[in-house]
């Protein structure tokens, strides 16, 4: 497998990087064409094999699978490159890689094509050179080539993977935030990508080995499992997107109870993921916290509407009903095959560092990391949204409030990280809510998420949030 990127708008550093990669690839091609290596291969068959492999490469490269976003794609073209490494040598492999310039993938800008072609050229050349350095012999393999060919081929495949991923990561890091954030999302699939890389690379050896027996037909047979895998990955990606959308829609349905909290789940999900990335969580956990953030308030549905909409102080029973909502949420989502951590995050997102939170009153280190992350994002979104009893706060005001409660309510580490993430990625506040008349009668008068306006209770014996 190889990854191609689509680049979007480029910064100056990215342009320089692109130019450097292009220059390296062009120089390499020109140099090795000039100092034509003494090939122990006939020129005629060399060219025809090159053409066939180039076509195979183009077919693979033109039908990639979209992974998480439109921006990065996944195609089995490296099997062609690595077959070329064995049968044609570094120069041939590099030329096969360079055909990416002609890729029939839609929506590619010239810069994208140029970068992809240069990247494939360099990684193919590196693979070819590695193959020779480890003592591989060029030409169509025969029965006598096995098993001696395997070690140099494995080295070549590794070189291809390393150079390909290295060059691509370099470019993705230089892109502006939305794209570099995608790099992080790509990491979710990294194990899958690496397995596929090696799998596809090995197919190159298979194509080369079967060349003497069935010639072109080997590529057809090899392509079948590849395209089936590609189909399954495509289905997976489509299902994943559908899943996210469905969950968001259902969470939104839960929010319809209260006009003001619309979009809250989705923003908390976004904020929690942003913060999780900032503290360096592994991509898989970031994904889990994204879902946990989305679902954190689902249990609010178990709280009677009249309690949520009550304007006066709450009785103890009513407060207890509100404080039960994380448990209700847990009850709903525990059947989903989530990471255990996501469940803990939902259950404990109202715990406080000083131990005065709910439902269990855990303190400091006892609170699961996911819960500490969600707590910050939750409160921040509540403060920057309009409520019936106050307007939306500005971002700097909300940050000041977070800092004020840092250590007592929030984990200071998380607050600091969140502020840094805000500076880096920014925050879209919801549009100030204009309440349509049909909602005027029914909306929450208090927000349990708002640290600046603690829930008012008739008898003030219970440790209510923040007072």
């Amino acid at each position: 497998m190889t990854q191609g990127g689509s680049l979007g708008r480029l910064s100056r550093a990215a342009w320089l990087y692109l130019a450097a990669v292009l220059a390296a690839a062009a120089g390499l091609l020109a140099g090795s064409l000039y100092v034509h290596p003494r090939l122990d291969l006939d020129f005629g068959p060399w060219v025809s094999t090159l053409l066939v492999l180039a076509i195979l490469f183009l077919v693979c490269d033109s039908t990639p699978t979209t992974l998480t976003s439109r921006q990065s794609a996944w195609s089995p073209s490296s099997s062609a490159t690595l077959a070329a490494v064995v049968m044609l040598g570094p120069l041939g492999a590099a030329l096969v890689g360079a055909t990416s310039l002609l890729s029939m993938r839609r929506g590619l800008y010239v810069a994208h094509r140029a970068f992809n072609a240069a990247m494939y050229t360099l990684s193919a050349f590196a693979a070819g050179a590695t193959y020779l350095a480890f003592g591989g012999t060029l030409g169509v393999p025969t029965k006598l080539s096995f098993p001696g060919i395997i070690a140099p081929f494995a080295a070549a495949a590794a070189a291809h993977v390393i150079v390909n991923h290295g060059l691509l990561s370099g470019m993705l890091l230089l892109l502006p935030p939305p794209e570099s954030a995608r790099r992080a999302r790509l990491d979710v699939h990294l194990p899958l990508l690496l397995v596929s890389d090696l799998g596809y690379a090995t197919l190159g050896l298979l194509i080369a080995a079967l060349w003497s027996l069935v010639n072109l037909f080997a590529t057809v047979l090899v392509l079948i499992p590849l395209f089936v895998a590609r189909w399954a990955i495509g289905q997976f990606a489509a299902q994943e997107r559908a899943y996210g959308a469905t969950m968001a829609a259902l969470c939104q349905a839960v929010e319809t109870k209260d006009f003001y909290t619309r979009g809250h789940s989705e923003r908390v999900s976004k904020g929690a993921a942003m913060l999780a990335r900032q503290v360096g969580m592994h991509a898989e956990r970031v994904e889990a916290i994204r879902y946990a953030g989305m679902l954190h308030d689902v249990g609010k549905l178990g709280v009677p509407t009249k309690v949520l909409q009550k304007t006066g102080p709450l009785t103890e029973e009513e407060l207890a009903a509100i404080q039960l909502h994380p448990m209700r949420g847990l009850e709903i989502v525990r059947q989903i095959g989530f990471l255990e951590e996501a469940l803990a995050g939902i259950m404990h997102h109202h715990e406080r560092m000083d131990g005065k939170g709910y439902p269990l009153g855990l303190a400091a280190g006892e609170i699961p990391e996911f819960a500490r992350v969600i707590a910050v994002a939750d409160a921040f979104d509540s403060m920057t949204s309009t409520r019936s009893y106050r307007g939306a706060r500005r971002i700097d005001e909300a940050v000041a409030e977070l800092r004020k409660w840092s250590g007592t309510q929030f984990d200071p580490v998380m607050v600091d990280a969140f502020v840094m993430a805000l500076e880096r990625e920014g925050w879209d506040r919801p549009h100030p809510a204009v309440v349509p008349p049909e909602f005027a009668g029914g909306m929450a008068a208090q927000d349990h998420d708002d640290p600046t306006a603690p829930l008012r209770v008739v008898e003030n014996r219970l440790p209510a949030g923040g007072s």
Binding site: V195, S196, G199, F236, T246, L250, A253, T305, I332, G337
Partner: protein, 426 residues
């Protein structure tokens, strides 16, 4: 409210019934015959047998679940088919008889299944038996041909014969699986067969191509070919695993989130899940295929989601008792919520039409909506109780209403399904 432990639904796939017994008996007899014969005459080319056996065991270890509680072992199957088809390993001609192929495949599968047993997972005997029978078909047809020199001299003829036999073997496996499934789930056989083919053909194509590749590559590279061919199959396997994984998480999530109406006090405990199960059973009885059943299940689980927009829950949550206007509103609101997702438009349509009478001024609602309408009414009247008299009374009420409200076919299927749950009823 306490967490309702849902009764662990015994995968009916695993419980024994007549079709499955027949399959197991056939596979068992084949296994005994193959192992006895092989033990009597000794292994031909033991090294190759061990290498292929190891590949098959490895593949069985990495079993894969496919959508719909199915199971596959693509690497194991490709290895076993490859062993049945291989003509030449390196410089020597492959001479294993068909019964040896079956014996090696069977022992490999059993060895690979042991860790599953040790880890407390189901042994999946029926799946193994189906796979073994497919391998046996290919082996018995191909091994006698393998000795004919014409075949090894003309590679194209050999490939064509291999491909043809693989298709036959794969189809036989699908038929066996469909028979068992139709028997276990009370589905119609032809529907089950088409479902089976729809789910299996992609993976089947990959396995078949890899089996031919193994046979060809063993000629060129010797037994190293086996190690190399694991790679593309692993890629396919990993891809399918992720796909099946997200599908089941998706269903789990919808099942879980459908409960929000219960937690919110809008519907009775377990209502959405019961309606979901009942609707799927009725749909299957009426010959709906799997993709449609999945949509039906989603729609049934979420059919009350529109109630979330009501400020106050309907007393008791029974929608069958509220006014047609309110039912209409709930259906519309629910469909609106589902439509938000942008990917479940057909599900939204089913939910939207759930309150529409079977015969009315408007065009007839989709089958899914008619099923949900009946299943919902039935559950509102009976609830979680297993009381026979209540069941009978509820069915009677639905039957009386068939003239205008409920599709008589759906009600007939519903009564068949509920009959099955109370087998002793007169």
């Amino acid at each position: 409210m306490t967490i309702q432990q849902r009764p662990a639904r015994q995968p009916s796939w695993q419980s024994l019934d007549s079709g499955q017994l027949l399959l197991l008996a056939a596979a068992g007899m084949l296994l005994v015959a193959a192992v006895a014969q092989t033990a009597a005459v000794g292994l031909t080319q033991a090294r190759a047998a061990v290498a292929f056996g190891a590949l098959i065991a490895f593949g069985e270890l990495l079993r894969l679940s496919l959508p719909g509680d199915r199971e596959a072992a693509p690497i194991g199957s490709a290895g076993a088919f490859g062993y049945a088809l291989v003509l030449q390993i390196g410089f020597t001609q492959a001479r294993q008889p068909a019964l040896q192929v079956v014996a090696v495949a069977a022992i490999g599968m059993i060895v690979g299944a042991l860790p599953h047993l040790a880890a407390g997972r189901p042994a999946g005997v029926a799946g193994m038996a189906a796979r073994l029978l497919a391998v046996a078909i290919v082996a018995f047809a191909f091994r006698p041909l393998a000795d004919i020199t014409m075949l090894s001299a003309r590679v194209w003829v050999a490939i064509a014969v291999m491909a043809g036999l693989l298709v036959v073997g794969w189809f036989a496996e699908c038929v066996i699986r469909a028979l068992i499934r139709a028997d276990a789930l009370r589905a119609k056989f032809m529907v089950a067969l088409v479902d089976e083919i729809r789910v299996q053909w992609q993976l089947g194509a990959a396995v078949g191509a890899c089996a031919i590749l193994i046979a060809l590559a063993a000629d060129e590279m010797g037994l190293v070919a086996l190690a190399i061919l694991i790679a593309p199959l692993l890629v396919t396997q990993v891809a399918f695993r992720r796909y099946a994984g997200i599908r089941s998480t998706y269903l789990q999530t919808v099942r879980a989130l459908a409960r929000v109406t219960e937690v919110g006090g809008y519907t009775e405990d377990g209502h959405s899940r019961r309606v979901g199960t009942l609707a799927v059973a009725v749909g299957r009885e009426l010959g709906m295929n799997e993709p449609d059943l999945l949509e039906l299940e989603y729609a049934a689980l979420m059919h009350d989601i529109g109630q979330l927009s009501l400020t106050d829950p309907i007393p008791g949550g029974a929608t069958v008792l509220v006014s047609p206007e309110d039912q209409r509103r709930i259906a519309e609101l629910g469909a609106g919520v589902i439509q938000q997702a942008g990917v479940l438009d057909r599900v939204a349509e089913i939910v939207r039409c759930q309150d529409r009478p079977w015969r009315g001024p408007e065009p007839a609602p989709p089958l899914g909506s008619r099923i949900i309408r009946a299943a919902n009414a039935f559950d509102d009247l009976v609830g979680g109780s297993a009381d026979r008299d209540r069941t009978t009374a509820a069915l009677e009420r639905l039957r009386i209403d068939t003239v205008a409200h409920y599709d008589p076919q759906v009600v007939a299927a519903l009564s068949k399904v509920t009959d099955r749950r109370h087998p002793g009823r007169l």
